[in-house]
């Protein structure tokens, strides 16, 4: 066991996280910049690079609060913990929850959901690729067989329910030069994100649609997922299924005894 090295790194790590003094092992020649200034370079590199990563991941949140405020909030978020893996793909997982509880943004109650949407967008963007089952494939399966089939959902499929018109808020802050006003009392929505090809696409789900998709995600057959929703009067299964197929929500079908899938 490398004891001296481990001790040095523990002290250095504690100092970077603000839980310890600058390691005594650091030194500099006389007449050159003092050790404290030198250590600041490392501390600044760590924080600035992670704040930059959050900025890149949450551009709509940043636009909503302004760059200076965003970077200050990100700094507070970092105090709660640094990344746990060596790649920053997926970094920022807890940022939405952090914003939900961050007192200075209490006046923007939708901010957490905008952050959730941005993180899901990135998840869909980086998700595994898979060919999509087309309407033709579904058209040759008898309805009674389809009812007992279990779909394999596309790896990029993500969903989100929000009490706010989160897509509109997100879209205008991502795409428009001048942000358009959004009516917050327009009501909530349920969303589906999919990247069947190169672009991440967003779709609004009808009432009951999210519960249906979640049941499928949990491994239900089409029939069982639909049964769970029999109470929802305005739930139109046929129309929703047609849309899900057209959007590219399905990568394969498990028809009890064999699997239907398209070769990549």
């Amino acid at each position: 066991m490398a004891e001296a090295l481990a001790g040095f790194q523990a002290a250095f790590a504690a100092a970077l996280s603000g839980r310890g003094p600058i390691p005594a092992a650091l030194s500099a020649k006389l007449g050159s910049p003092p050790v404290a200034k030198r250590f600041d370079v490392y501390r600044n590199n760590v924080h600035a690079s992670l704040i930059n990563a959050l900025e890149a991941a949450f551009p709509a949140v940043e636009r909503l609060v302004g760059r200076e405020f965003f970077r200050a909030a990100a700094r507070v978020y970092l105090e709660g913990g640094l990344p746990v893996q060596g790649t920053l793909i997926g970094y920022g997982e807890g940022f939405a929850d952090f914003l939900d509880g961050f007192e200075p943004v209490r006046g923007l109650p939708y901010l957490g959901d905008v952050a959730r949407l941005e993180l899901l967008w990135l998840e869909a963007y980086h998700a595994a690729d898979a060919a999509v089952l087309t309407a033709e494939v579904f058209s040759i399966i008898a309805p009674d067989r389809l009812a007992v089939a279990r779909p394999v959902l596309h790896p990029s499929l993500r969903s989100l329910a929000s009490a706010y018109p989160v897509v509109e808020i997100w879209r205008t802050n991502r795409e428009d030069e001048t942000v358009k006003p959004v009516r917050l009392d327009a009501g909530g929505e349920a969303l589906l994100l999919l990247r069947p090809d190169a672009e991440v696409r967003l779709y609004r789900l009808p009432p009951g649609g999210l519960a249906f998709v979640k049941a499928l995600q949990a491994g239900a057959t089409f029939g069982a997922a639909a049964d769970e929703l029999s109470g929802a009067a305005d739930f139109e299964l046929a129309g929703l299924l047609k849309n899900l197929i057209a959007w590219g929500a399905f990568a394969a079908l498990d028809l009890e005894s064999f699997i239907v899938s398209r070769k990549q």
């Binding site: 090295l5 650091l26 020649k29 050159s32 030198r38 250590f39 760590v46 990563a53 997926g90």
Partner: protein, 302 residues
């Protein structure tokens, strides 16, 4: 000519679309489309492995398309070879998947640590120059080379401070690491310059100590200067053109050791592709001149 010699324990080599002794640039997402459309004359591209550790999507789609036209170098920044704890196996396997997928001509990492326990600091932190740390680095480099089934290059980092009780110089540490593990070296001339100015050492002496046969790749980048109580502290920010002093060192270094694959790194405030290609052309001129001299003088670097 760019063959990297391992003295004692040669790592198994898998020759795959070798990276030529020419200038290359770091591949940036904002340049994907322009590169595929124009296929600029350039020796090769380098990517940060960690930016391609997602399962799929556009990054892989574009890198696959670009890889069909250019040799590739895979440069890791998150493996933390210098951590006292065990090698991050999950990260090492992600790196192996990328090596299998893209068959890069070069794979490199750093003399640095980025991880302590479960925390990833996302910065290349300094390793004490001790026998103990050399043992740790050697074991981790050997383990990584076993996992990949090939040699890796280890890069000298930018350093901002000395660490007490050093038992050797940085170049001695790196040379010993190659002898023990069979790895090669990626010499970042900008990092040599930044570290030497910051520590009060001589950059020419540093480079003169490196045996030519150990060097598999060279990095060049810009740095920033911060004034601290009227003394300059150089910050390796990869945010500007290569400084004249660094370029001079590079030219002298290649005069000594022969030409090598040379990367222009520019990761902060990334400029238009043309600007990167112009920087690469400067390095390529240097490479061509030395190659021309070698042809006339009878290849002193053979």
């Amino acid at each position: 000519m760019t063959h990297v010699q391992a003295s004692h324990r040669p790592a198994p080599m898998r020759a795959m679309s070798p990276v030529p002794a020419a200038a290359g640039i770091g591949l940036k997402p904002q340049h994907y489309l322009e590169i595929l459309e124009n296929l600029p004359a350039l020796g090769w591209f380098e990517v940060h492995a960690e930016n391609y550790m997602g399962a799929g999507g556009p990054p892989h789609r574009y890198l696959t398309a670009i890889r069909e036209h250019y040799p590739l170098s895979l440069h890791g920044v998150g493996l933390s070879l210098g951590s006292a704890g065990p090698l991050d196996r999950a990260h090492a396997l992600r790196l192996r998947d990328l090596v299998d997928r893209y068959e890069p001509g070069l794979v490199s990492e750093h003399l640095a640590w980025t991880r302590h326990g479960e925390t990833h600091f996302n910065d290349l932190l300094p390793v004490p120059l001790t026998m103990e740390a050399l043992d740790v680095m050697t074991a981790h480099v050997a383990e990584m080379q076993d996992i990949l089934g090939r040699q890796i290059l280890v890069e000298n980092p930018s350093v901002y401070t000395d660490i007490r009780d050093a038992e050797m110089s940085e170049s001695e540490f790196l040379i010993a690491l190659t002898r023990r593990s069979g790895c090669g070296l990626l010499i970042d001339v900008n990092n040599v310059y930044v570290s030497c100015v910051n520590r009060g050492d001589d950059a020419q002496d540093w480079l003169a100590a490196i045996p030519a046969e150990l060097v598999g790749e060279i990095h060049l980048a810009g740095h920033a200067t911060e004034m601290v109580e009227n003394v300059s502290l150089l910050i390796d920010d990869h945010g500007s053109a290569v400084a004249a002093a660094v370029f001079d060192l590079y030219r002298d270094f290649m005069d000594d050791i022969g030409v090598r694959p040379t990367l222009i790194e520019w990761d902060t405030d990334v400029p238009a592709l043309d600007v990167l290609l112009t920087e690469a052309a400067r390095a390529q001129c240097c490479i061509d001149r030395i190659k021309g001299l070698d042809a006339v003088m009878g290849a002193p670097h053979g």
